[in-house]
Amino acid sequence: MTYFPEEVVEHIFDFLVSHRDRNAVSTVSKAWYQVERLSRRSVFVGNCYAVLPERVMTRFPGMKCLIVKGKPHFADFNLVPHDWGGFALPWIEAAAHGCPGLEKLRLKRMVVSDESLELLARSFPDFKALVLVSCEGFSTDGLAAIATHCRSLRELDLQENEVEDYGRQWLSCFPDSCTSLVSLNFSCLKGEVNGGALERLVARCRNLRGLKLNRAVSVESLIRILDRAPHLVELGTGSLTVDHHTEAYRRMINAFHKCKSLRNLSGFWDVDPRCLQSVYPVCPNLTVLNLSYAPSIQGADQVLDCIGDRGLVVVASTCKQLRELRVFPSDVYGTGTAAVTEEGLVAISSGCSKLNSLLYFCHRMTNAALITVAKNCPGFVRFRLCILDPGKSDPITNQPLDEGFGAIVQSCKDLRRLSLSGLLTDKVFLYIGEYSARLEMLSIAFAGDSDKGMIYVLNGCKNLRKLEIRDSPFGDAALLENVGKYETMRSLWMSSCEVTLGGCKALAAKMPRLNVEVINEWDESDETEENPSDAHKVEKMYVYRTLTGPRNEAPDFVWTL
């Protein structure tokens, strides 16, 4: 292969789509490294602190698409202090300087300022797609800049960001000449948008395939939009407060009926469960159904039904093509009437055999149910189960859920992501280490008995990339058992475990190419904490491989050892 002309090698590399494959071929020889880096169009940086932005731009001058991730996953649950880091500006500045041909930027869990968005909007003449997931730090002013200056914008996808709302005019900033939008998602915005501007935008963007509205968009507006864009493939509704007796409800159903291409549905804010019946005619073609904002209404009144297990049974019987399902808890803290249980999950698994991605919050789960689910759906790629009560056992047998999760990992050979919950001993980790050959991300909470649990995982899961653990009895022995493993992984998070400062120091000393960050949120008034001993337990630790050494903009409460 090394005797082929570069053009041929480059052409062959065109067929390599995954980042990992391209990374692999770039290590074969210097020649291949050169060919690969000049022909790489899409660059994925899984941890923004693993490498300097300038270095990425220098290596890949032809980059058209950049994907960067910032904060650790547990930042989603308020476990990472607010100003820990993950700033987008250095990346946008470096790209503006080194890769002005950039067309697509995707950022996850990063702090994005309006200044960054304005720089982005002005620096890349061919810019086509901006995807921001779980980011914060910007406002509708930044969005207005994007709408105003990005002439060839095809995609603006805002997923679950915290956005400051300064008014409804940002959408009107899309010029009349903008007809290129293919996908628009502003579901996370809290404020109203200009309804007329939205409808006109939808009408003139004939290629629009994905539209996700925010809660402020009314049913009337939705009906008008669906009438103008019946070719939508992905739809997120706005607020669906419409009584099923009314004319508006009928018109809404008619509008849905006309949308023959719908494959992905979400939204359903404030929906009365009876309204969901308007969805079912569309259901046979659905591959993704996101009910996360549909309330489970609690009450003694028979007329007020719940999504609940019964709702899931209906989903199971109609959505045969379903591949992904997420069921969130509406009653996050209370113990009210249980909305969904293991029965709903079993029903789903028997009805939707193509299910490969699941996020399921429930009040209880049994080993028997998990074993059945494992048998029904061997194709799970992502399986995240959250039993709301930490450490809860199988309510029928009072046993830990080791066998249930063991069945999942044994049956689902393609499992890449797993989140555990419920009462679990070291045994479940033995199963995971033994069977989860493809597992890349594992989330552990309130589980395990001893260091052995974590050691099984570190020694067993060959493809593990991200391990995040909270409130589990794993200590220094587990942390230091297989230190070389961490250079094969992106990151390790441990909080409220048994790891000590001494253990972290030992890890940092052995592995200079890891950043071992200890996050201290100690009281300033607590003097004993100023010089803690090595025996002191570390509350939060984040370990990641990096080429850059300790970061120079880390806040005071982060110690890189």
Partner: protein
């Protein structure tokens, strides 16, 4: 001494006298009906039990009272939590007042607290409880207002008939309607 207790005078007594006796008593409780004593007692016992619950939260079953929150658990993104929480803000309109207000129904534990809050919000009112109907009174001109709400079906309902949680789930907006407009078919004579 009656200064630290709410009065136990029956409402029929006060109805006869035309004055709400409870109201004129000095109390530490918020003004209103006889429910407030019960609520204060419950509040105290909740304070005692909470510390016990903290120790036991890992061993509990779903039959136990609500557990205190563990940080970051359940793993629901704060974005989503905030979004699910904010749906209980409703507009409050008062007949004859040019501006509306908004209240978060989930901030209150029951009808009493809601009415107390409305009273404070529109500062001129005092609450009275007649046998069946709660009313708010503007002492300046004596106008009475009846608290009503619009439910999910679009009907205007009298506040107080259904259990509190059901009310929170179905209330879309509040309106303090002038008594003179309000026709109560089932109301017993109040005086």
């Amino acid at each position: 001494m009656s200064t630290t207790e709410t009065g136990n005078s029956s409402t029929t007594e006060s109805a006869v006298s035309g004055l709400d006796y409870e109201e004129t008593q000095l109390t530490l409780a918020p003004p209103g009906g006889s429910r407030s004593e019960l609520e204060r007692k419950r509040g105290f016992s909740e304070g005692v039990d909470l510390s016990l619950e903290t120790k036991d939260f890992l061993s509990g079953s779903s039959d136990e009272p609500p557990k205190p929150q563990v940080v970051g658990w359940p793993p629901v993104r704060s974005f989503r939590r905030n979004v699910l929480k904010s749906c209980t803000y409703v507009k409050v309109a008062v007949d004859g007042t040019p501006y509306l207000r908004k209240v978060d129904l989930e901030a209150y534990a029951g009808y009493q607290q809601l009415l107390t809050a409305l009273e404070e919000m529109f500062s001129c009112f005092t609450a009275r409880t007649y046998p069946n109907v709660r009313r708010l009174v503007d002492p300046v001109n004596g106008t009475e207002y009846v608290p009503t709400y619009e439910d999910k079906d679009g009907d205007w309902m009298l506040i107080g008939d259904v259990p509190w949680k059901m009310f929170v789930a179905s209330c879309k907006r509040l309106r303090l309607m002038k008594s003179s407009e309000f026709v109560d078919i089932g109301c017993i004579t109040e005086r």
